[in-house]
Symmetry: C2
Subunit: 551 residues, 2 copies
């Protein structure tokens, strides 16, 4: 009677596929040689109208749904179709609820027909969600087999398939259409997306590479334009890594800005470095429109951790000369050649516009990262071990370090980490303040250009280093990822005479292969101070514009 974990996983995996209408099935799936399934490859399965809709940006879609030119239903159907294809090509979905999505789209269309105006700022915009959000009538597994049929691993809570996370309610109230939940690595603590249910989420631009993690399903889905904007979460890079790996934009806000209330999570209650949620999108405006819509709902009235900070409009064209810091390496792991080139492209483009770029020589990132990693181990792995124990399924190689943890931290030990983290934030802040003496603007730097990861995309089981993203979480800074370029094997050669810093750096260096990485996306992050979401989106938009001009 009792199913094995393998049987339960297989049943779930099949049930996802079963929710895809037969006419949307790919009967002749691409072979292993078809690495790039974006662009013309996926377009072959779609009508011209579907292509037009799904390759529009969020702002273009909203313009059409707000004017009544497109119905919410046709937009939703197009994205459902493309998302179904994306899943078959990359394993990017955990939950499909196309029927419910089409039903809500129809309701929105009725609302529009009756009132001659949209329901809210996101009227008719399909939004995808990482599988940490609770959505009515849908399961939340977070990739754990033991969570299937439960509420966060517990049975008979009365919340199963009924409860909705705060952000889900906010999105519905603003007119968004929810249609799928995207894959995550079990534990959420990996830069790759792998679990025993959907196996591995591949990078649609190069299916030999990872889509990133932990919001890897979002990255792959939006990269394939199976969604135009979706929400992920980020405690060590989990929004930014998939954004960079899939050539899309991502916003990691500071804690307390967007409502995390009612989300499933790993190691919930670890209070020293909090996970945040934020959008990934095919355009900066896509990030902005959803962020602004959510803040318009005054989430501080329903999430006790959100601060009362309404959307603050950035004065247009008032920026004048800006100053940027550039972190070419954090000194622990040097970026691979294409990442270095991407960073230089940004530097060059900004300098060409008359902006200043200074070398960023902050307090030791390694010291910050050492404390950061401690916070991941506070409970000695108890939470994740408990989740695996529910089903007996094995841990993926990528997260086995959590299984190896043994000792829980004590109150005194955790207090010491908290004090140290606060001191490190203060030191970093003082360094940032001090840059007003070296910039020519009379102000400290406006933003810092940093790699997202030392590699353009990880090879399977190759996400070896979290330092470039993790430090930003420890500092609670705002970060926006901007896609910059793609690996060009004729340009991004292996650095033959490379002198490695140490074994880790050597391994990262050795993992670069121009042939394997050819065409892989490379993004960089623009890092701003705490709670600077509006400002950083404006700066990222400017950087993106300048790069487009210069390319």
């Amino acid at each position: 009677m009792t199913q094995t974990w393998q049987e339960r996983a297989e049943a779930k995996r099949s049930s996802i596929i079963a929710l895809i209408p037969p006419e949307w099935r790919i009967t002749d799936p691409p072979n292993d040689q078809q690495l790039d399934v974006t662009g013309s490859y996926i377009q072959q399965f779609l009508s011209d109208n579907e292509i037009q809709i799904t390759e529009s940006t969020a702002e273009q879609i909203l313009k059409n749904t707000h004017s009544g030119r497109w119905t919410a239903e046709e937009v939703t159907r197009a994205f459902c179709h493309r998302a179904a294809l994306a899943h078959q090509l990359t394993n990017c979905l955990h939950e499909i609820f196309f029927d419910a999505a089409i039903a809500s789209a129809k309701e929105l269309d009725e609302h529009y027909a009756k009132n001659k105006q949209p329901l809210g700022p996101l009227h008719g915009l399909p939004v995808s969600l990482k599988d940490q959000f609770h959505v009515k009538d849908v399961e939340t597994s977070m990739g754990y087999i033991g969570w299937l049929g439960t509420f966060e691993g517990r049975k008979n809570t009365g919340k199963e398939r009924v409860y909705e996370s705060e952000l889900v309610r906010d999105l519905r109230a603003t007119g968004a259409v929810l249609f799928c939940k995207t894959s995550v690595p079990h534990t959420l603590m990996s830069g790759e997306t792998v679990n025993n249910i959907i196996s591995y989420t591949w990078n649609p631009k190069n299916r030999a590479l990872s889509s990133g993690g932990s919001s890897g399903g979002e990255g792959a889905l939006i990269g394939l334009r199976g969604s135009v904007v979706g929400f992920g979460t980020d405690i060590g890079g989990s929004i930014r890594i998939p954004a960079a790996f899939n050539g899309v934009f991502g916003l990691k806000p500071s804690t307390g800005r967007l409502p995390y209330e009612g989300m499933a999570n790993s190691m919930d209650g670890q209070n020293s470095i909090l996970s945040v949620l934020g959008p990934l999108a095919s355009s900066i405006e896509g990030l902005r429109v959803v962020t602004k819509a959510v803040l318009g709902r005054k989430p501080w009235l329903r999430d006790p951790l959100v601060v009362e900070m309404p959307w603050r409009e950035e004065p247009e064209e008032e920026k004048g000369k800006m100053a940027f810091g550039v972190l070419r390496s954090d000194g622990t792991v040097n970026p691979q050649p294409p990442v270095r080139r991407a960073v230089e492209m940004v530097v060059k483009a900004l300098k060409a516009q008359g902006h200043e770029v200074i070398d960023w020589t902050p307090p030791s990132h390694k010291t910050i990262m050492d404390e950061t990693l401690k916070t991941w181990a506070f409970d000695g792995g108890a939470d994740v071990k408990g989740a695996f124990a529910l089903s007996g399924e094995p841990m993926a190689e990528q997260v086995k370090l959590f299984g190896a943890l043994e000792k829980e931290f004590t109150g005194s030990e955790m207090a010491a980490v908290n004090v140290r983290l606060r001191q490190l934030k203060k030191e970093y802040m003082e360094y940032w303040n001090s840059t007003d003496k070296v910039t020519g603007t009379g102000r400290p730097v406006d933003a810092v250009i940093m790699p997202v990861a030392p590699f353009p995309a990880a090879r399977p089981n190759g996400y070896l280093y979290y330092g470039y993203t993790g430090v930003v979480n420890a500092l609670d800074y705002t970060s926006v990822v901007v896609p910059i370029t793609n690996v060009d094997s004729s340009v991004d050669k292996v650095d033959e005479g490379y002198q490695a810093i140490d074994e880790l750096d050597k391994a990262v260096h050795a993992s670069y292969d121009p042939q394997i990485y050819h065409y892989a996306h490379v993004g960089v992050q623009l890092v701003g101070r705490r709670l600077q979401e509006e400002r950083m989106l404006a700066i990222a938009e400017y950087v993106n514009k300048v790069l487009e001009k210069s390319s």
Copy 2:
């Protein structure tokens, strides 16, 4: 050679007195029968001009220093004199630095003479500080003998007597004059102020009673008008209790509003319920002017935990009809008769103005308080035991529970507390939101009227219950204490037929004695949601005005 802890305490105690000029010494100290040393008692030692200055409010003082009518020096000298008297009458000071204060006042006067304008919004305003603030050239003992001659218990840090806390720098930059640091209970975790250096800080209105704690020195000093405004801290009531006990106003802001950076503290790194700092003052405007001045310094640029939230002006006279909740009892410990009467006075005065007052029936305060008390025990008392061990001094009876703690919490246990606290905040928030259905304003209640403590002032070793204040810290709400009345033994009779809830409630009930408490101050707190400092000051000001009218 080595001094005993008693000798070190005696040496420090004498050194404080030695810093009082001989002409300011009280040669014939009041006997035990002189319970009330406020008003005419302390005035006998002061000149008319000194009385006029020290009995002015902060706004009156600033008006005079900004117009040049009063020099910073004469204002400072008057407060130094009165503070010296206050200390001799109540033991309210840990550190005296009158010479440095007069020197900075002279500098301010020179600045004024030269520039014909004040240095900043607090130009020439003396501000007292609880002995958790680090001030140049001055020691920080926090009441621990083992901290004398050290920096927070450590020697040769290079910070001793040099380092200044962030708020101290902000106050200097806005023109405030710092002149003394006020007494605290060792550990800071008591509603009374007692330590082995200054012994017990008495209530100036009734020297048989406590001045409250942990900012008890501030309370006593401002109660005696030895200071017009000062800063305390509050993790479980430590601003509000002394404010209520001494008939002054107090603001407990939410975390992240005012800069705690660089403060000495107990159990630093306990991250679940944070201590906050805030002002106590002889007027609401006193609270407002210092809060506004500090926010004007953009503390979020120097304290990584402060959110970027500038002072938000409250629209004048736009309040119209308001709705209040009233919590007459939290169900665990009932307030004593004078506290009940104070609460009813507020209710009656507000109703008389046409405002609505509804019964506040929130989620269980006891449940919230149970979790709150756990956070105080996370480190199993390690921090405070370590501080006592430095000198071998004994713990005061009031804080012995910390000595009795043994086991540290584990990472998992602390995570569970954090999750529970977040859930309780959410439940409370939902209850608050739900009151829009019962108020006649169409909005949820604007503020909640609550006791500060179940007693008007504690009798020595009689601070038995922290529930009325601690819950507000757990919820991270804003609270303003307003003085309401004084115990009147002819009115506030013992409730003879009282049925106690349990042993604790019985003990609190039994501790009330109209004769002993006669004339003791009674305040109430007006509690608002998180980060509502401006709004709550405006409401408290209104309530105070209405009470003055009705009395």
